[in-house]
């Protein structure tokens, strides 16, 4: 499991004056479901296209399965790609599409037909072989694109936002199927998406990219719970940020002072700044507890005034104004007991509290 299958070394890609990918270094492990996540224009698709061979790096090298493929054309790389629009050949039917890459496979007609049937079973479209490409729905096209790539038994399957064009329900269903399929075939998947929820759901590991840089590479859980930068904390999920000064640090407990929150305590094995310096404190909306009475604790509590709230079905988003803070704090509550609106009326005084281990220390950014 820990064997490296893709090794990206100091890869930079310039388009004219625009730097699309900036000195990327990345190892993808065999059998992994690896996602490249970032806002549009962050370089994730360019990086994927360099893995496929459609773009050549301006600098750096790419190794796939121990071979330097930096300058190899796409047709000889041991990878296959599922395109954003699926690129199902319009002049061929489903079987012909799936068989497209098998011209040089050396299989007999009969063996090939069997393989195509197996692939149709795998993508749950048995009997669809004779369908024309324009008779398929979006989800079916996506599956055919998968089958067409997987029949080649690539070392790595590259997926360029393959779920972006599907509606929400179908997308969620395809996410589960994709994950199961990946576990079933055991092929390494490199998946490009701008949808952070999708990346969290699917991936073993995620590389978060921004403006050509790989900001952070980690598991979904640690990206969400322990982000290392403000960008990652902000891009994945919702986060409240507070300016803070570190007062003291000992025995895994950092004591800080925030103008908007008062004294704060953070449980952390080490601090990113020394006492006397500033950092950013980050707290997720769902980490807050909310009450109408003043809590009996010196740290990690703040008095606020209820702002607007939004009912989202399974949970509600409350916005709490705090003295000295421009934007209200975002608080998420599970809707355990019916509608909360009547309790959390606008302008009502509330206390927010959170625990030592639910806040994250981040470096200050300009």
């Amino acid at each position: 499991m820990s064997e490296v299958i893709i090794s990206i070394n100091n890869v930079t890609k310039d388009f004219g004056n625009v730097r699309a990918v900036n000195n990327a270094n990345l190892d993808v492990l065999k059998g992994e479901f690896f996602s490249l996540l970032g806002p549009s224009g962050c370089g994730k698709t360019t990086l994927l296209r360099m893995l496929a061979g459609f773009e050549l790096p301006t600098e750096g090298t790419i190794d796939i399965d121990g071979q330097d493929v930096t300058l190899s054309p796409p047709n000889i790389r041991p990878v296959n790609m599922v395109f954003q629009n699926y690129a199902i050949f319009p002049h061929l039917n489903v079987s012909q599409n799936i068989a497209f890459g098998m011209r040089k496979s050396g299989l007999s007609k009969q063996e090939l037909d069997e393989r195509i049937e197996q692939m149709l079973e795998l993508i749950k479209l048995p009997g669809y072989g004779d369908r024309g490409s324009n008779e398929l729905s979006g989800g079916q096209r996506q599956r055919v694109a998968l089958a067409r790539a997987l029949i080649k038994q690539p070392k790595v399957l590259l997926l360029d936002e393959p779920l972006g064009a599907l509606d929400k329900k179908l997308r969620e269903q395809m996410q589960i199927e994709l994950r199961l399929l990946q576990q079933q075939v055991g092929i390494t998947f490199v998946f490009v998406t701008h949808d952070q929820e999708e990346a969290l759901t699917l991936s073993d590991r995620i590389a978060v990219m921004n403006q050509g840089d790989i900001i952070e590479v980690s598991t979904p859980g640690s990206l969400y719970e322990q982000p290392q930068s403000r960008f990652v904390a902000d891009f994945i999920g919702t986060m409240n940020f507070f300016d803070c000064t570190l007062k003291d640090f000992s025995d895994g407990i950092a004591i800080g002072e925030a103008s908007e929150l008062g004294s704060v305590r953070i449980a952390t094995p080490q601090t990113i700044v020394t006492p006397g310096n500033d950092f950013t404190l980050a707290v997720r909306p769902e980490k807050f507890s909310i009450s109408f009475e003043q809590p009996d604790q010196q740290y990690n509590s703040v008095l606020g005034r209820m702002g607007p709230s939004a009912y989202l079905g399974d949970r509600s988003h409350l916005y709490v104004h705090v003295k000295g803070r421009e934007y209200p704090i975002s608080v998420a509550l599970q809707n355990l007991t019916g509608v909360l609106d009547q309790m959390y009326t606008t302008d009502r005084k509330v206390w927010l509290t959170w625990s030592d281990d639910s806040a994250v220390m981040l470096p200050m950014e300009g």
């Binding site: 496929a52 061979g53 459609f54 054309p73 796409p74 047709n75 000889i76 990878v79 296959n80 790609m81 395109f83 954003q84 629009n85 699926y86 690129a87 199902i88 050949f89 319009p90 002049h91 497209f100 890459g101 011209r103 040089k104 490409s133 324009n134 979006g138 096209r141 996506q142 067409r148 790539a149 080649k152 064009a165 599907l166």
Partner: protein
């Protein structure tokens, strides 16, 4: 309501009048080609096939027809091949000033053919090149390539380059990618380009007039026959045949261009 109806009637009258204006002269051709008289006058005398029969006996006509087919087919083939190259270059590669380049190639479309004919004639005579069907072909190629390009660029722009990338990704080199993916998808455009340029070359008179040596093309032959009044009815018969074949070919080209592989479905995901 009444207003709409009367407007519709005016429009209908206009449309019918326009169609008569367009097609009446063309209809005169076949009409008199079956008339049993040398002279183009009413009343019609009788029905005959003899002018058509006369065509079959004319050696000059048959030579001219063969010459025109030779030139037309070669020009259609070459200009379509050039059109495919150009369309691929323009639509697939990041080229600076490709717009300017296209404009330059399109220039023969707007230069009067008589000017084009004279300048080509001068060029050939300066270069000591003997006039022949080949020089006619070169002239026609200049005229036809822009049409091929227009047809093929629009076809090529209509399909996503990810189809070609997918073919490469699935293990095909540039050659096989072209034959297995690009060509089948642009085939309707290729056929349309071929038929269109063939028709242009086949009907073309002015360039051929300047550039043909002793070998006449069909339009030149027809022109030469007009000097003899007794040949006029069989020229009409020939004209009737050409009009019919041209119409069928153009309609076929347009049908094929519109049909073929539906490229719209890729956005329907």
């Amino acid at each position: 309501m009444i207003r709409t109806r009367s407007r519709l009637n005016t429009l209908t009258v206009y449309a019918v009048a326009y169609l008569i204006f367009l097609y009446a002269p063309v209809a005169v051709l076949p009409l008199f080609s079956f008339n049993d008289s040398q002279y183009i006058t009413f009343p019609l005398l009788g029905f005959t096939f003899k002018w058509y029969a006369q065509l079959a006996d004319s050696q000059g006509l048959q030579n001219a027809l063969i010459n025109s087919l030779k030139v037309g087919l070669s020009v259609a083939f070459l200009s379509t091949v050039l059109g495919i190259f150009a369309a691929k270059g323009v639509t697939r590669y990041r080229m600076r000033r490709s717009g300017l380049l296209i404009s330059f190639i399109m220039v023969p479309l707007v230069i009067p053919e008589i000017i084009l004919g004279i300048s080509l004639l001068m060029t050939f005579s300066v270069g000591g090149i003997k006039l022949s069907l080949i020089t006619v072909g070169i002239g026609h190629l200049m005229l036809c390539t822009p049409f091929s390009m227009l047809v093929l660029i629009s076809r090529m722009e209509g399909f996503d380059k990810s189809y070609e990338e997918a073919a490469q990704d699935l293990g095909e080199n540039a050659w096989w990618t072209f034959w297995r993916v690009t060509f089948p998808i642009i085939l309707p455009g290729v056929v349309a380009s071929f038929l269109l340029t063939f028709t242009i070359s086949f009907d073309e008179f002015i360039l051929a007039f300047f550039l043909a040596g002793t070998d006449a093309t069909l339009p030149l032959h027809i022109w030469s026959q007009l000097r003899f009044p007794d040949k006029l009815p069989s020229v009409l018969a020939l004209g009737a045949i050409i009009v019919m074949v041209s119409t069928v070919v153009i309609f076929a080209a347009e049908l094929i261009r519109r049909g073929g592989v539906d490229l719209g479905n890729k956005s329907k995901v």
